[in-house]
Assembly symmetry: C2
Homo-oligomer: 558 residues x 2
């Protein structure tokens, strides 16, 4: 009989950036009591997940072990940490704990989804604590690019875990608690840290991170120097940046108007929960339209070039009465997330065509990251000197590099990606089991497994186009009429300027006339034969092998 | 009656990066004799052009005015300048002029396409010249990231044009002629430049460009310090980089093996045309497999994460007998072109999983750009002091910024994007006409207009999935059998765990039973009614409106 063990199991966020979901467990092997940290989403793209609305972590393993799950903790309100909560909570139905800003955002999601608001419990930052099964959990405030982001101090009978959450080392984050070495050292002195699960996003950034406060001066200067209207965008949840931008606008004698639902919501939740105070007065769009352009700044959503955001609407022309003009300035106080470049450049070019001056982050002059850079990671390693480091929140290359720098500092480390259950009980982390982890696509209202073939079919349709063949046979296997062909996503004309459908129909009809009864009477064989002909003819006519669907209707005497 | 005029008309490359095709003309308005500079491609992507093989400029206007076209000049052998030549030359059939390396690459393309090799004429660099209609054209050697890249000196009765082509200000480009202020100043002193058409790619890069020669030392140090096998990738056509890498490998006592067809071809054409000399001896893959890993460097294609390149093949496992292992190094001596990030990161993570050390350009330590940065652009403006500047090779934002810096230097400038015909005859450039310019998709062997709807249909299929409905009616408009539904790219199961096809079939069949004769006898009305039902049911069942195709078969007595 073996004793208790302490385990860590990432189900999302380890081996990718996004879709964070980390499980901790303590107890006898296979009977550990479990706790889930974060339930985030990842965002789909046309290359790998066309048509999909959101990507959710596959929590099947947790659902199978639901009687062992005692609670859910959310570290902060970014979508990659909280975005799947409304979609997946109905599978779990366990109490959720978060700090007040995060809890408010969570309750808005629950309200929209018709879920019970009282499932979300507000927990203050340490020393407040909650017991979740065998764990005692405290929120450890950590600066990040959203209010009240927190690390977790997780005490278990097998020792203390420090789960950093997303963080940056910023003594002056404008909103919320600043980085405080003395406080962290005090925490470190309380109890040794057995294992640190640590943000790895910026492990390849070699310079120390810069403070949010460093942006105030350059932003003020920029906005003061602008002639026409200024429109600024950043991540909607970066409330500190919104404040910095708004104060810079005020210093430049400009009124502020916020456009975009997500941004208005973030500001209002931040004010309601009192994490944001002293935000300059905001004018309504109607009021703003009466203000001279050089006395106005719009704060808008859409820093990533999202098609439905305010920034994109403004790039297409009039939006809520506003129209950008020659000499106006559009500021991206944000970085472009890899994969979003084309959308952002499209915006920039649209503004350029309007004669608008487009200003990007200017190599960091107008934007700082919300994540700890390598020297900052090394700094937190030194403060807590954990027995072992398990990097999270990163692609494989980030996790591996993070382990490498931990090793250099003499700390045991392990690369654990989604589905790898790690035993933390001993002196070094050990992979003890591989769990089936994966992605679930939220597609309309349906949840479909990423391996179900649905999205693979969409990609094939997009790459290859589709030929649909309909044939009708009577009881004697005689074709009634000719084969009927329709195309989707394929050129209409083949070689010799002849319509591709005609060529295909002629070939298929000819085949049906000469095909043996053995083939024509067997749906599968006939289907295969017709598909082969379509592919072959298409290859000759348009140099491409399309997807083919064949519908064979057999009529019987009634 | 008006006199002659000198015109410039970009048909590709102005307002985008890629697909370069610029027309110059001289003569009476509407009767100008024409010359085409470059016939490049752009590359498709899943977002906007799924399934497409290549994007070609739409040369319809040129084809309509073919009797006025006297020749084609190619500035250099990058695909965005020469890639469409083999596909579009059959529409033009005019003599092509290029320097010998470029001409050799062109002839290889013509050979593959079965086109007459003698249509491509080799022209040496200046003072050699060719008359193309009213123009006298000379190649002006310019350093770039491929051998024998050239600007064009185009003399016309209305004055001299300097078409820079792609260039960087590099006195030591390793392969080919270095940047030479004295030579350029001599050219400038010959004849004043009326108009300069200038590369705009790096107008937002504020520091002067660095020389290819600056890479030798860091690369040698890196490769010398590596323990296992080194695999390096860069753009296949960057022959200078290949030489730098190969020499660094030799200095580190490593043999060199080249993998990837495009790269082997570039090296061999460069050696045959004598633009590349002194390239270290290359071993075959068979020989390389006998060499200890720490004495070997592979040079491979696929710096942009291309799925079919050698780099990707190695990331998937064994390739031509080679297999990357723990402790090997993979070097990206290249930058990631915007839009390719995800593919490159995928490679990096795959190598990371193998334990391979992945090294990227390291903020320019292991890669320099082939394009002139802003100070270098200002430098060439100063050398030639053109009457007017027309930026090319850039998105709108690049062109606009380039005009702005020209204005600051007191040079008249204009943003002219694809399709804008500019009259250069007077003191300032003037847009005189808008020509229909656009993109043609090479799709398999077919060429389809980007506005034809084919690709739009593919995108819709990928985003929305497809429902195919088949119904058969007899002469009395009675359904024969039930409606038949097939899905592609849609979840199989709807609400209440019922198959979506069943729900759809039931609803459609019910509709057919109660539909009026007026609807059921009219193909268009019936089609519309069935589509509406499918969309509505799908919206209820899966929260999504799919594409729908309906095939109605009407059987008549024979």
């Amino acid at each position: 009989m073996s004793g208790e063990r302490l385990i860590y199991l990432p189900l999302g966020g380890a081996g990718e950036i996004g879709m964070n979901a980390y499980v901790y467990g303590y107890g006898k092997p296979g009977k550990e009591r479990l706790m889930l940290v974060d339930v985030g989403v990842a965002f789909p793209d046309m290359d790998s997940s066309p048509g999909v609305d959101l990507i959710l972590p596959d929590l099947s393993w947790l659902v199978e072990n639901l009687d062992r799950l005692d609670g859910i903790v959310i570290t902060h309100a970014h979508e990659d940490h909280i975005g799947a909560l409304g979609h997946l909570w109905p599978l779990l139905k366990k109490p959720v704990y978060a700090r007040k800003f995060t809890a408010s955002i969570g309750r808005l999601k629950f309200e929209e989804a018709g879920l019970p608001l009282d499932a979300i419990h507000t927990l203050e930052a340490r020393p407040a604590a909650v017991e979740i099964g065998p764990f005692t959990v405290q929120f450890l405030p950590m600066p990040h690019s959203i209010p009240e982001s927190s690390g977790l101090i997780i005490d278990s009978p097998a020792g203390r875990i420090l789960h950093t959450g997303d963080f940056k080392r910023d003594p002056s984050p404008i909103v919320g608690e600043g980085w405080d070495d003395a406080m962290l050292e005090a925490v470190a002195a309380e109890t040794p840290v057995k294992a640190m699960m640590c943000d790895s996003t910026n492990v390849f950034s070699l310079n120390p991170g810069r403070s949010e406060a460093s942006l105030a001066e350059p932003l003020t200067e920029l906005i003061r120097g602008a002639s026409g209207m200024v429109v600024a965008t950043t991540f909607a949840s970066n409330v500190a940046r919104l404040k910095t931008l708004a104060e810079a606008a005020r210093a430049a004698d400009r009124s502020i108007c916020v456009l975009g639902r997500a941004m208005k919501r973030m500001v209002s939740v931040a004010e309601e929960t009192r994490v944001l105070t002293g935000f300059p007065r905001v004018v309504s769009p109607e009021e703003a339209l009466e203000i001279p352009r050089r006395n106005l700044m719009l704060l808008v959503t859409g820093s990533q070039g999202e098609r439905r955001a305010a920034s994109a609407a403004l790039s297409r022309g009039k939006y809520l009465g506003f129209e950008m003009k020659q000499g106006d300035t559009f500021l991206f106080s944000s970085k472009t997330i890899p994969g979003n470049e084309c959308g952002v450049y499209k915006l920039m070019n649209a503004y350029s065509e309007m004669g608008v001056n487009v200003v990007d982050d200017n190599n960091g002059k107008y934007h700082v990251s919300g994540h700890a850079n390598r020297p900052d990671l090394e700094h937190i390693h030194r403060i807590f000197l954990p027995d072992m480091l398990v990097p999270m929140h990163g692609e494989h290359r980030h996790l591996r590099e993070h382990v490498r720098i931990a090793h250099e500092a003499g700390i045991a480390g392990i690369v654990a990606t989604n589905g790898m259950m790690v035993d933390l009980t001993g002196d070094v982390p050990k992979v003890v089991q591989h769990i089936e982890a994966g992605r679930v696509y939220l597609d309309g209202t349906a949840q479909i497994g990423s391996m179900d073939g649905v999205v693979r079919d969409r990609i094939r349709l997009a790459l290859n186009g589709l030929v649909m063949v309909t044939i009708i046979l009577d009881e004697q296997n005689e074709p009634l009429g000719e084969a009927w062909v329709e195309l989707m996503g394929l050129p209409a004309i083949g070689l010799g300027e002849r319509p591709l459908t005609e060529t295909l129909e002629a070939e298929l009809t000819e085949f049906l006339e000469r095909a043996s009864g053995k083939i024509i009477s067997d749906d599968d064989k006939l289907d295969e034969a017709l598909k082969r002909i379509v592919r072959q003819v298409a290859m000759e006519e348009i140099g491409k092998k399309p997807e083919v669907r064949v519908v064979i209707s057999r009529l019987t005497a009634e």
